[in-house]
């Protein structure tokens, strides 16, 4: 039984998170009435991570350009660096890096805020007052990250591509114009589902899903917190850990669905 305990715990946690997601979806029609709370959450969760996304995104683009550029230069193909950086950023790095930043900054914050409410009787107070806590607390947070994650990903992609261009020009002797032309050209491949560049909307779809995952896992961890400050700390830690695992696993399946099927 002890061997099975972690499996049961994971299954219970997953079940709770899926149930919470279902509760949020069932209340989506209340979003217009909660517009102010959603805006507050976008400000708190997203706008306050913009500077992190700017710095990390830029350097990720520079690292990708440098790592791949050095190898491409050996075979005289450094002109392709723009293609590689833009596709890497749009398909994977942008959505993944943004989601990881949101998990660390916003997801942990949601777990801590709601966890503190849980251990200080505030959630019990909402229950006693017959106030729907999903509508008041969870819905605005999930919608906010579902909106904010793709927007931050666009920012991350953009600064990453620009950062890669800086490395291409300064260290790989590829002109900025050539780099940008190949970067933009690589993102023009239209998809079958939407009349938009597939790599762009695929990446943005991923980031939308990641945003929802981060918010739901963060809120679920907070709602289940108990045992004072220690419990809030555990909720925060598990929110970040579980979000990153869920992002990576989901990333694989979305990538498979978009590019292999």
């Amino acid at each position: 039984m002890n061997i099975l305990r972690p499996v049961v715990t994971i299954a219970q946690g997953l079940g709770y998170e899926l149930e919470l997601l279902g509760s949020v979806l069932a209340r989506l029609h209340h979003v217009p009435a909660r517009a102010r709370l959603v805006a507050d959450q976008i400000y708190q969760s997203a706008l306050q991570t913009v500077h992190v996304v700017l710095v990390v995104g830029t350097f990720i683009g520079m690292i990708v350009a440098l790592q791949t550029g050095i190898e491409l230069a050996r075979i005289g193909q450094q002109d392709q660096i723009g293609t590689i950086v833009s596709l890497s950023m749009a398909r994977e790095m942008g959505p993944f890096i943004t989601a990881t930043i949101l998990a660390a900054a916003a997801g942990s914050s949601m777990a801590a805020e709601i966890g503190t409410m849980s251990v200080s009787d505030e959630l019990s107070a909402l229950e006693v007052l017959s106030v729907d806590r999903v509508k008041l607390l969870i819905l605005p947070r999930v919608v906010a990250l579902a909106i904010a994650a793709p927007l931050l990903t666009i920012l991350c992609d953009t600064v990453g591509i620009l950062g890669g261009g800086f490395v291409a020009q300064s260290q790989l002797n590829v002109s900025y114009q050539l780099y940008l032309d190949s970067a933009v050209e690589a993102l023009r491949d239209p998809g079958r589902i939407l009349p938009l560049p597939k790599d762009v909307y695929g990446g943005l779809f991923k980031s939308f899903v990641f945003g929802v995952i981060v918010a739901v896992i963060g809120c679920a961890a907070g709602l289940r917190a108990s045992g004072g400050a220690l419990g809030v700390g555990q909720a925060t830690r598990s929110a970040v850990r579980d979000s990153i695992i869920a992002i990576i696993v989901t990333n694989y399946f979305i990538t498979w669905a978009l590019y292999q099927s």
Binding site: E113, T116, M117, S120, D121, E122, S124, A125, L126, E127, V128, L129, S130, V131, D132, K135, L136
Partner: protein, 249 residues
């Protein structure tokens, strides 16, 4: 209190344990309509646990907790929500929502559960804030007010829907004697004028003397003594004398 009068709150042989710790062990009592029953007892004997059973936040391991004749544990989510809308609950620490202002905290049940116009909600909230002597606290956040003020905001929020049943978890804790007495007078008035039925967990003798119709002493998860305040505080029961001291005032 007479068991023949209409019992609004009733506990029958209620048992509750947390792990190995037995908290309630066959607890039974009734609170008739319009009456206020105070619960006294040493810390950690499950006084707040009783209130949480009555409001449906906890479920008993055995026995029945009923409100207006309906077993709270068997109510559907919707029925429990409807019942709670007619009840008020004052938490020990106030349990104010920390990111809402005082006014928004008090207004919350009306904003979420009614379609009252904003002006009417503001009027009602202001009226309750004046009732608990904090008329100018509307825009303050819970972090900006004292523990005693939080308790009063919690009381205003518990009363905002004009509930028929109110559960108070130490309404006097953290209040100075002057405010404390005015809160006690307010609670007494509520019970006399509006015939509110109440369960009161409290240690302060003055509060119980002012507000309660009867006092129950909880010991080892059961009722040890249940008497009207005058007789309770005059009792020569050895355990009560030990708990209250020689001069209960």
């Amino acid at each position: 209190m007479s068991p023949t009068a209409e019992a609004v709150i009733e506990l029958r042989d209620v048992r509750k344990s947390f792990g190995a710790q037995k908290v309630l062990d066959g607890l039974s009592f009734q609170v008739p309509r319009g009456r206020c029953l105070a619960i006294m007892g040493p810390s950690g004997t499950g006084k707040s646990v009783i209130l949480r059973h009555v409001i449906g936040l906890l479920k008993a391991d055995a026995g029945v907790v009923s409100v207006e004749g309906r077993d709270v544990a068997r109510l559907s989510k919707h029925e429990l929500s409807d019942l709670r809308k007619r009840m008020g609950f004052l938490f020990q620490e106030g349990a104010l929502i920390n990111w809402l202002t005082v006014g928004e905290n008090v207004a919350l049940p009306l904003r979420e559960n009614t379609r009252l116009p904003d002006a009417e909600i503001r009027r009602k909230v202001q009226e309750k804030l004046e009732l608990v002597h904090i008329p100018d606290a509307w825009d303050k956040l819970p972090a900006q007010i004292s523990g005693g003020m939080k308790k009063r905001v919690g009381l205003a929020r518990a009363l905002i829907t004009d509930p028929e049943i109110v559960l108070y978890d130490e309404p006097n804790a953290g209040l100075d004697p002057e405010i404390s007495q005015s809160i006690n007078d307010l609670l007494r008035e509520l019970h006399e004028r509006l015939r509110v039925t109440a369960l009161l967990v409290e240690h302060r003798v003055r509060c119980i003397r002012t507000v309660a119709d009867e006092v129950l002493f909880l010991e080892k998860g059961r009722v040890l003594v249940q008497l009207p305040p005058r007789e309770f505080f005059a009792s020569d029961h050895p355990r009560l004398v030990q708990f209250l001291g020689k001069d209960p005032d």
